[in-house]
Symmetry: C2
Subunit: 111 residues, 2 copies
C-alpha cells in the first residue's frame, strides 16, 4: 500500500496560475489510470481543448465553471464531472480562493 | 460532459455502517474505470480482504486507518492511497464523524 499526502507531491506548472500534482500513477506502479490533483489560482483559465482520453473529475475546494459542448456547469465541492474522450472542455476559477479538483485519466498519460 | 453532485447519487449499503455511491461508471459511459464515494459511519470496519484489481483512493473527510501488509496507515483529508492488485487491505473509521473517501477501480466492477 502506497501512502501519500497530496501536499507532499511536487506541484508542476500546467498553465498560468495552474498546477498539477501526479499523486498516483505509473511511477507508483498503478497499472491502469493516474490520479492527479489540479489547482487553479483565482481567475485562472484553461482554455477549451480536447484529447482522445476521458476525465473523471471530483471537485475538492473552491468555485469555478467547466465549459463543455452544452455550455457551462458549476464546479463546487462534491461535484463530479465525466468528460468523454474527444469532447471539448475547459475550466475557469470564478471564486475568491483556489479551485482544487481531482482528475483521473487512463494511461498513457497523454497531455 | 456529465455533471453530478455525489450527494444526488443513491447510497448503496456495502456493509454495516458503510455505504457506496457509484458516481461515475459504465452507466455514465466511462470506458475504463469507475469513481465511487464510500462512507464509513463512526466505528465502522471493513475487514481485510483482497481482489485482483487495484484501488486509487483519496480521503475527503474524517479520520481512519487503512490496514495493509506493512501495518496501518492513517486516513485523513488529503491522503491518497494506492492499493495494488491482490494486496490484502481493510479500513476502519476511528474518528467521531463520517469517514469519506473516493475509491477508483478499473472496469469490470468486480466486488
Amino acid at each position: 500500500m502506497l501512502y501519500r499526502d497530496y501536499r507532499d507531491v511536487p506541484a508542476e506548472v500546467a498553465g498560468e496560475g495552474i498546477t498539477i500534482r501526479w499523486v498516483i500513477g505509473k511511477p507508483q506502479g498503478a497499472p491502469n489510470f493516474a490520479m492527479r490533483v489540479i489547482e487553479f489560482a483565482p481567475g485562472a483559465v484553461f482554455a477549451p481543448h480536447q484529447h482522445p482520453y476521458e476525465h473523471e473529475i471530483f471537485v475538492l475546494e473552491g468555485e469555478g465553471v467547466a465549459q463543455g459542448p452544452e455550455g457551462e456547469v458549476p464546479m463546487r465541492p462534491g461535484v463530479a464531472l465525466y468528460i468523454p474522450p474527444n469532447e471539448r472542455h475547459g475550466y475557469r476559477n470564478t471564486g475568491p480562493g483556489v479551485l482544487r479538483f481531482i482528475c483521473v485519466i487512463p494511461h498513457p498519460e497523454a497531455s
